[in-house]
């Protein structure tokens, strides 16, 4: 099939950026969206045009590296998939596809479709971990975990950190990402010792970069892993409790 791409081109963070149109002729319906971009880039290179910069890594929907706005939808028209899992059979001959980068203050532009998502790393560094005694591997099932808790935590742990929630949010908020990363640790016994410092520091760090949640639900709809808004409610609840509990811990040391 023959398509037309309307792609956001931006040479660097300081550049204003603009849309450019490129033909994508002879695209096979079995190609993935990123393979289609590869082919277009090959041709651009042969024509002496700078290829379109885009982020990608595993190309099987688990690394969270790829992610662009396709026709006004994060990761494109398919529900519960990352951009790399979108295939060209979603399109038909003659379509024009608009491709834009994630747009949010917390994700500054780097080049073309590539944005700087290090703010996510800062949030993880502030509390998205557990401290364990490293040594020999513990015995299996040493820590009993109810099946339901394990499943619920796993639903949150499915987050691949792609940033589609921020891209989708009219407020540029990262609540779904932070809620998922907070919950998958805080729902399990291993995550309890640091639960309240985690809630406080992850939210406080998040708010240095991102907007606030006004419960539009766009993030949930955009999430390639279908992570539920219910985790945001858990985060909101625990944030209040953390302010209260950490205050008591702080009081002990004066």
């Amino acid at each position: 099939m023959d398509l037309t791409l309307r792609v956001w081109r931006q040479s660097g963070p300081g550049d204003k950026g603009r849309f450019e149109e490129y033909p994508a002729k002879g695209i096979d319906e079995h190609m993935s969206f990123l393979e289609m971009l590869d082919i277009v880039n090959e041709r651009l290179t042969l024509e002496g045009i700078e290829p379109i910069a885009f982020d990608h890594d595993c190309r099987e929907g688990i690394c969270g590296t790829c992610g662009v706005m396709v026709d006004g939808r994060p990761h494109g028209p398919w529900e519960g998939t990352a951009t790399c899992q979108l295939h060209m059979r979603a399109y038909s001959d003659g379509d024009t596809i608009t491709i834009e980068p994630w747009r949010a203050k917390g994700f500054p532009a780097i080049k073309d479709l590539v944005v700087d998502r290090r703010a996510f790393d800062r949030i993880i560094e502030s509390g998205g971990f557990i401290s364990v005694a490293a040594g020999s591997a513990p015995d299996a099932n040493n820590t009993p975990i109810p099946q339901e808790a394990a499943e619920f935590a796993m639903d949150a742990a499915a987050c691949i950190g792609c940033g589609a929630c921020v891209a989708a949010c009219p407020n540029g908020a990262a609540q779904l990402f932070v809620a998922a990363k907070y919950s998958h640790l805080s729902l399990l016994p291993q995550g309890q010792p640091e639960r309240w410092t985690r809630a406080e520091s992850m939210v406080d760090t998040m708010e240095l970069y991102f907007g606030s949640c006004s419960n539009h639900g766009e993030c949930e709809a955009a999430c390639p892993k279908n992570i539920s808004l219910d985790f945001i409610a858990l985060l909101n609840r625990d944030y209040l409790r953390s302010k209260w509990r950490n205050r008591r811990l702080a009081g002990q040391k004066g």
């Binding site: 834009e100 290090r118 800062r122 949010c169 410092t197 406080d204 240095l208 949640c213 419960n215 702080a250």
Partner: protein, 238 residues
Amino acid sequence: MTTTRPTVKRRRLWFLEFYRSAVGKKWVMAVTGIILIGYLLAHMVGNLKMYLGPESINAYGESLRDLGGHLVPRTHLLWIMRIGLVAATALHLHAAITLTFLNWRSRPARYDERHYAAANYASRTMIYGGVIVAAFVVFHLMDLTWGSGGAEFARGLPYENIVHSFERLPVALFYIVANLLLGVHLYHGAWSMFQSIGLNHPRFNQWRRWFAYGIAAVITIGNVSFPIAVQAGIVHLG
């Protein structure tokens, strides 16, 4: 780039620190929202007494001043409630405005093309509807509390004041439009507040939707009926 770790030191009052955060402000918006919804519901139900005639609603208005009976001096309990209501409104507005500016700053660039999948008219117009409703409330207080809204006004005679005010067609239309906007605002607010304070469970989420529809519909239908009833001559003088 920086991260914040909770440091172990004496802190300011924990709830002031909490309010400083966006999540804390959303908590405050939800809690004050619950107070305001409770007030709106009571206000609407109380005003239904106008359908029972002037004596009924005028006596109701008077009895509000007697709230608390002989336990407190007359009008004191009413004033405590009014102060609470003003405080809730002020906090709701302050949080809403600061969060809106934060959110505008957080999404400086627009997408050339954007198809929303879940955000609706109600959720996307909260600040605009809220500001219009706030302006309406100022007019409403001038009109029917302070008597400076331009219509014939007598203190202590709400029935007569309502009829005099709503007989003016532009005023009646303004009341209807403002209350429809309020209904849209309540629809998102009544759903959203549970999320903000973390009262959320897969088993109850559908029920929350129905609750939001119900709150918005009951308050809006009741309120909109008053100017219509006056315009239609159902509520009239003499």
